[in-house]
């Protein structure tokens, strides 16, 4: 990475545009698209997962406001976040108080199916997001085996099932459920989705 490539982030047109965006949801996805594109220029793959991915699919209705980004090069990502004036808060959490954007950088292989990632275009930037099926599996697994926020996990699963009922790959979801021993929870979520 060239040392001063992003050193004037605060005076850049992108920054000004982000600051002017009064809607926090739109500002966050604008920044995520921007960051993903800049990471791509540096040869880093980034995938939006977890709560913010669900937030995106539900347009902020089930907001958790926690942005989880899986990257395949944490070092470059962190250097870039430094350039974009993010401060480290804890091991993986990065916060830009001026933009009011918080990111969790996860240096781990993406566990879902890369071929099923959804693409979002935000202005001229592209953002790759975990597939609804993989997010549903994630939430149901959490509901069944971790249980600490079972209501939210179940509700988000039901919401994704309902919102994507026409396009969801149920065969793939069945395979995931079997692999992860969550067939019972998937059946329940489907039952509620059909009534919702």
């Amino acid at each position: 990475m060239k040392p001063d490539k992003y050193s004037k982030f605060r005076t850049s047109p992108e920054y000004r545009e982000m600051k002017q965006e009064g809607d926090l949801f739109r500002r966050r996805i604008f920044f995520l698209g921007f960051l993903s594109s800049k990471l791509k220029e540096e040869g880093v793959d980034a995938i939006l997962v977890g709560g913010e991915a669900i937030d995106l699919y539900t347009a902020g209705t089930f907001a958790t406001s926690d942005i989880d980004l899986v990257v395949n090069n944490k070092g470059i990502t962190e250097k870039l976040l430094n350039k974009f004036e993010f401060a480290r808060q804890g091991n993986e959490i990065w916060f830009n108080s001026d933009l009011n954007v918080i990111l969790q950088v996860i240096d781990k292989d993406y566990s879902g199916d890369l071929k099923r990632l959804k693409k979002f275009r935000v202005k001229e930037y592209e953002l790759r997001v975990a597939a609804p099926e993989d997010l549903i599996q994630n939430r149901l697994y959490s509901a069944k085996f971790w249980k600490s926020s079972a209501q939210r996990d179940m509700e988000e699963s039901v919401a994704l099932l309902r919102i994507f009922e026409g396009t969801i790959d149920n065969s793939y979801l069945d395979i995931l459920a079997k692999e992860n021993d969550i067939e019972d929870y998937l059946a329940e979520a489907r039952k509620y989705a059909s009534k919702a």
């Binding site: 899986v70 808060q89 918080i102 509700e155 509620y192």
Partner: protein, 163 residues
């Protein structure tokens, strides 16, 4: 109505309680993990609290630490104490434990079968799903779908944010 709604939600209620109970300044992340809160929401709540003088902050070794302020902060806590009805666990060690860390991570990426995995016993899903007012979840889902369609349009398999 739940008491925390008087403060605008669970996060504010819990963060305020954490600040009140803290013997030393804490980072937002410490509060989030100790109280099982969403880290992002905790940061935002603390930023709000600082803005309103409920919390004060100081930066040490590139980390921002928060504590309760004497005036508005103490007044807010007195209000909170008058509403609280049940004791809370303050065991930060528990929240920092490998089990809890694994749990948080499990919500982000799929973990391999872990030795911390719970028993998987079926919970009463009906009970879990009945915590909302009848029709509320359906309305939220419909609202999500409408809002998503208003925000994005699909072009050749790509969701494009409308200007």
């Amino acid at each position: 109505m739940k008491a925390e709604m008087l403060l605008g939600g669970k996060t504010r209620f819990t963060v305020l309680g954490a600040l009140a109970d803290a013997k030393a300044p804490l980072t937002a992340y410490q509060i989030a993990i100790a109280r099982g809160l969403d880290p992002a929401a905790t940061y935002r709540t603390l930023a709000e609290f600082s803005e309103f003088g409920i919390a004060r902050s100081q930066v040490k070794r590139n980390q921002r630490y928060y504590s309760l302020s004497g005036g508005p902060g103490r007044a807010a806590v007195n209000f909170l104490r008058s509403l609280e009805t049940k004791p809370r666990s303050d065991d930060i060690e528990e929240w920092l434990s490998p089990k809890m860390r694994s749990e948080r991570l499990s919500k982000i990426v799929r973990l391999e079968r872990s030795r911390f995995r719970g028993d998987g016993k079926m919970q009463d899903i009906g009970k879990i799903m009945s915590r909302r007012v009848r029709g509320e979840l359906s309305a939220l889902i419909m609202s999500s779908k409408i809002a998503f369609d208003e925000l994005f349009e699909e072009k050749n398999g790509v969701f494009v944010l409308k200007e």
